[in-house]
Symmetry: C2
Subunit: 241 residues, 2 copies
């Protein structure tokens, strides 16, 4: 049985302020929940319409009806399980390896896709400006497809980090150097900017290495690539070399 | 003034069967409409809340109120203009250059992003299996950001094309050859598969060149890249070489 208070809590967790106040977030579906259960994330409570995770102790799980699950789900079609996890304490950023920094990414789908790309390309740390969409937003959690369990995420002011780092700082700009002919290092911080405005002026000042993805279209009219596809191409270039 | 019949027509054009029956589709917003007006697409009728396109003849445009536009819009927040265009006759496929083939892509956002990538990387022809989401779906039209005006799109059975082409046929598979070490030609057909199932068995038989995007994550648990990000990386590799 699911109590009214439990339903109230989960519904509240759709909003950032309640996630922060309770230090909790939720994930849906066997794939994402399964990956979180195998990671360092700590389960707070699991709700299942059937016995999806028999390994989870009965003391922290409840049966839920399909109609109740549909009511609290953030998805248009609810899955067969929903799990509330504790938001982990943010680890200190370690200036090592390839790091991705996001300057005010607003779209949950883009953030989720970028996190998946970090996971694929072995980027172990993702740094987000405070204005970037919350990684524990249910839509982002869903779009990460479980990668959220394997990449360390840091919300922090980008400027002091970028000004003081010993790592080389990269950013993509239309007038940057052709990424295909640059020698890219195994370590560095690569910045991607907001969907509408790109990298902000303040952050641009910290970029020593301006790179560009060349265009090949005959008409040269396409203004820009979507930020998630640009991230895919840039991370691929860093790793292939 | 906008008549009831005009509103009825536009609302109907949200559905594929009515788009096909009327040979019409619609686009929204100054950016996308502007690019279509500059292309070979033929304008059927323009609706504006203000004078967005003064160059369009008064005989094929109408003023519309914001509330009316909101009613017929396919967007969550309507723009200041909506235009109905004629669906062009499908051109014959020319076996030349780099061609992208899609095997049952279902998500409108993915199709729109892939079309934008084709435009960016100078892929002039996109071939879609009949089960692929309709390119004239309003969500796809919006996601293309105007690229729909510059890439020729063909809905056709993939199998006979792929079996009979003189061009080399490529497809991405987990067990394919490392794309970073392959010599990729300037001409060829590259297939991308359905979001859930990948390239179908029938189509897989026509692929002579199996390629793979290597994973770099320590844990090697990410199952696959999103099809649009995979397209970004593969097209970038074809063009860089």
């Amino acid at each position: 049985m699911v109590s009214k208070n439990q339903i109230k809590l989960i519904t509240a967790l759709q909003q950032k302020k309640f996630r922060q106040a309770n230090e909790l977030f939720f994930a849906e579906g066997a794939k994402v929940i399964g990956e979180l259960l195998q990671s360092d994330f700590e389960l707070y409570h699991l709700y299942e319409t059937a016995d999806v995770f028999p390994e989870v102790s009965a003391s922290i799980k409840s049966r839920i009806s399909e109609s109740e699950l549909n009511k609290i789900s953030a998805l248009s079609t609810a899955n067969n399980c929903l799990a509330v996890f504790k938001i982990p304490k943010q680890k200190p950023l370690v200036e090592k390896g390839l790091i991705v920094a996001l300057d005010d990414i607003r779209d949950p789908g883009n953030l989720g896709t970028i996190l998946r790309l970090c996971d694929w390309f072995g980027v172990e740390q993702l740094v987000c400006s405070p204005e970037t969409v919350d990684i524990f937003n249910p839509k982002v959690v869903q779009a990460t497809m479980g990668s959220i369990a394997r990449v360390s995420i840091h919300y922090i002011d980008l400027k002091p980090i970028l000004e003081n780092t010993k790592l080389p700082v990269f950013g993509t700009f239309m007038d940057g150097k052709n990424i295909y002919s640059e020698k890219l290092p195994p370590e560095g911080i690569v910045i991607f900017g907001n969907e509408a405005n790109g990298i902000s002026y303040e952050i641009e000042q910290t970029v020593k290495n301006r790179i560009a993805i060349p265009r090949f279209g005959k008409l040269q009219q396409t203004e820009s690539l979507n930020v998630a596809t640009a991230t895919a191409i840039v991370l691929s270039e860093f790793r292939r070399s």
